[in-house]
Symmetry: none
Subunit: 266 residues, 2 copies
């Protein structure tokens, strides 16, 4: 039985690092152990490992730990690397600012929608797709777009295979209905969601296509229905499509300086 463990050595290592990095002052082994519910000897061993590698280090003259030099160096590299490939995020941020609502990019993997990136414009309100979260296919705009682009045969098979969980009153749980909606979605080229996953939250999404028109991901917006009605969502489509076009140009480029991308009309 392949057990998916969420508490392996690696997780613990990163949990410890995260905890140390999140504290204002240096922390003792005991504090870390109690914060992360680790047995004390285990905490010692793990922290010792991290210390040997320079990922943590003792604060001068004490036995309390702070982030290590290797970790800081690595982090700087990571920040730099992330910044070099940040155009996707910039486009997302720009469209979120233009629309004035939360926008997110999602992909489908293993028959669930995984949100890769998202931008909140204002303070948290209503729904938030945190990157890394997973949502079902049948009640999200991204999921609908994905399904709508499958060959009809595969689409129907998938619809029947999925557990069409009823999250709200408007969740589509009937295969016939879902197929009809997907058909519309396919013809129209974009999808809407009417409080089907979370009550009070509506949204819409458009596909991000590769040059050969393969679906790469979806760009969507989620908004409290109190602010924008289901019908009003349509006015987001044009900006979303414009941004999606930009993204598809941006995303696939090999990001090297002298790379072979001829498109400068970004």
């Amino acid at each position: 039985m392949p057990k998916i463990n969420a508490d392996g050595p690696l997780d613990r290592a990163f949990a410890i690092i995260g905890h140390v990095a999140g504290q204002v002052r240096a922390v003792s082994v005991a504090e870390i152990a109690s914060a992360l519910a680790l047995p004390l000897p285990t905490a010692h061993r793990l922290i010792g490992n991290l210390e040997q590698r320079g990922l943590l280090q003792k604060a001068l003259g004490t036995k309390r730990y702070v982030v290590g030099n290797q970790l800081v160096t690595l982090s700087a590299k990571v920040i730099g690397a992330a910044f070099r490939t940040a155009r996707r995020h910039a486009v997302l941020r720009a469209v979120a600012a233009e629309i004035g609502e939360q926008c997110e990019i999602g992909v489908v993997r293993d028959n669930v929608v995984a949100y890769v990136d998202s931008v909140r414009v204002s303070q948290p309100q209503g729904l938030q797709f945190n990157p890394g979260e997973a949502a079902p296919l049948h009640c999200t705009s991204t999921g609908k777009i994905y399904m709508s682009r499958l060959p009809e045969r595969a689409r129907e098979k998938l619809c029947r295979a999925l557990a069409l969980t009823k999250y709200t009153e408007t969740t589509i749980v009937d295969v016939e209905n879902l197929m009809k909606v997907l058909d519309e979605t396919r013809k129209r080229g974009w999808a809407k969601t009417n409080e089907e996953y979370v009550r009070g939250v509506v949204g819409c999404a458009v596909p991000i296509l590769s040059p050969d028109r393969e679906l790469i991901a979806c760009l969507g917006v989620s908004v409290p229905v109190a602010r924008v009605s289901f019908a009003e969502l349509d006015r987001f489509i044009a900006p979303l499509q414009k941004a999606a076009a930009l993204l598809s140009e941006t995303i696939l480029q090999v990001d090297e300086d002298g790379a072979d991308d001829g498109s400068d009309n970004l």
Copy 2:
């Protein structure tokens, strides 16, 4: 005898992360495997582990990997923690006292400048960057420094992707202009801001570099224009640079109790 293994799972995980973070572009599993002399299935497994935890992620639409959201978040936390240690905070306080104005340290994350530490000398006046606050790239000194260090191609594309919001009369909203300013910034090695974000507040910043000249963060000063004119900012540069050099030295520094052996490879 407790065997000190220099090639355990943890070492490999960090080696992979380091390699991905050090590349300019997304890398394939095979590239990572060959770069780190790992068997391909092993590399695949390890990378899969990291991907599940959000430390690495696939570049959209490809099978190549880039740093993941979790890792970027953690790295930003680490940088923040690194500069909040007593010794480094003291350096910041010293330079703030010397200059007589508010100094702050900022990093870029998600295309936004996040201030990780700051020191006010006098009573609140004009702008205050509270740690945790976020400011745009195009109208802050720190943002300019980050952008100026991108390869030219990427820099221009990022400029075009950013929403160059006009905050004041002097905010640079024109891509050509911004590019010109960034070019100067790159050549000069530091940045100035002329009431571009908040009216009545000017500022400048210098980079804090790691030993291998990687950008870790920026050290900057913000001051009401009533007290110091835009032109007069230049006299802050030298003290700032001195402090920045001091800060990057402390990053390299190894504490006395960590002096075990000479092998300090990653």
